[in-house]
């Protein structure tokens, strides 16, 4: 048995859809609709946004209020819709050229602002609708109509761009690895925040044939050779890995502004150290470590940082460190837990 209720989310009256035979976009559309249906998303709580290109036509086949934006602007539109209507689930259906090239700036900044939207990128590594020109994700060396001797430049590595600062959700999957594909879609839809699914997809007519493939299935086999599934949740994905890289928001380091009381220490009557004398107490040969600070001598032998060392980074044992501590990134409070053993001679 297979659940076919997802068809309610598709405008079947307009089928067969506009894409070429064997095109991966149909699979993206179908599987996204399935996942939405499973989650109970419908035209009362969901809106889809798409860009331009073959993939941009996906929005028009969904039984939802859909927005078909100019080239590259799907993310901006989705973010604005989510801002105004937090009650709506907003899903972006677009492609690699749209999101990575003409909408590249919006990709950087929308992901930075982290709105709660889900992006499905039909990444077929080519500009299909316009006739098979090299795109931002076309692998180096690939022959296309605008790179007749092979693409000159490195492709855009979305996996690296989108996983630089938490929180992020980046998944890479293919239209061939169906179970994996479905898992990625579902997890992305459920992720709170900006989630991006990079779906390696086939453009058989305008890319595959030039590469020597005869059918979509042959391209699928090629995906199987090029990629392998990385199990478990990763922080980052390598270029040949399929999987999910995600990271929750990093806990913000709170700067506590507690004013510590400087302990009053009676130093009258304690031993008076000259700087020359202090030098001996540098921790070598079993002697304690003393340092001078603002006229007092502290015994910092117990400091784990100085253990067995004459120096800790730039601080040298057996010296007056008043000036050092003033310019150090930490304050003087680190010293106060150590016992005062004497006075420092002016």
């Amino acid at each position: 048995m297979i659940d076919r209720s997802y068809k309610e989310l598709l405008k079947l009256g307009r089928f067969p859809h506009t894409w070429c035979p064997g095109c991966g976009i149909g699979a993206v559309l179908k599987n996204v609709a399935m996942a939405m249906k499973e989650l109970g998303w419908n035209n009362q709580n969901t809106s889809v946004v798409s860009g331009i290109g073959c993939s941009g036509r996906m929005a028009g086949y969904m039984n939802l209020d859909a927005v078909h934006t100019p080239h590259g602007r799907a993310l901006t539109a989705a973010e604005a819709i989510k801002t105004v209507r937090p009650d709506l689930n907003v899903v972006v259906l677009s492609g690699d050229g749209d999101l990575g090239a003409i909408g590249g700036n919006h990709l950087l900044h929308t992901s930075r602002r982290n709105p709660d939207i889900t992006v499905f990128c039909n990444d077929n590594e080519i500009y299909g609708l316009t006739g098979g020109q090299a795109g931002p994700t076309t692998p180096k060396g690939t022959k296309t109509v605008t790179s007749p001797r092979g693409e000159h430049y490195q492709p855009l590595r979305l996996n690296r761009i989108l996983t630089t600062q938490a929180p992020y959700f980046y998944a890479r999957t293919t239209v061939y690895h169906l179970n994996h594909f479905k898992t990625c879609i579902r997890e992305a839809l459920l992720w709170k925040g900006f989630s991006f699914v990079d779906i390696i997809s086939d453009c058989i007519e305008l890319n595959g044939r030039r590469l020597g493939f005869k059918t979509a299935h042959q391209m699928f086999k090629w995906f199987e050779e090029r990629f392998h599934i990385a199990e478990g949740v990763r922080d980052h994905l390598k270029d040949d890995e399929l999987g999910i890289a995600k990271k929750e928001v990093e806990a913000e380091v709170k700067v506590e502004v507690e004013v510590e009381q400087i302990p009053e220490v009676q130093i009258e009557g304690l031993k008076l150290f000259a700087l020359e004398e202090l030098k001996q107490f540098d921790g070598t040969e079993g002697r304690p470590i003393y340092i001078g600070y603002k006229g007092k001598v502290y015994d910092i032998s117990a400091s784990p940082l100085f253990q067995g060392e004459k120096r800790m980074r730039c601080h040298i044992a057996g010296k007056d460190l008043t000036r050092d501590i003033e310019i150090a990134p930490h304050g003087e409070e680190l010293l106060f837990k150590f016992p005062v053993v004497g006075r420092l001679k002016e």
């Binding site: 048995m1 297979i2 064997g22 991966g24 149909g26 179908k30 239209v175 059918t215 299935h217």
Partner: protein, 62 residues
Amino acid sequence: MKPRLNVIWNENYCKRCILCVEVCPESVLSLERDEIVEKPGCIRCYQCERYCPDVAIEVMDG
């Protein structure tokens, strides 16, 4: 159109990309004279239906 054994094929939605033919582990499907034809031997794995990008093929329930 030949009678169907296990799969329902939607002629209008189908674009003849033959993905179903190629993913079938038992090779029971084939494209003959512009039609998807089914031989006996279907193991009801649903691969053709799952992979079809055009919602054009369904494995009959039951």
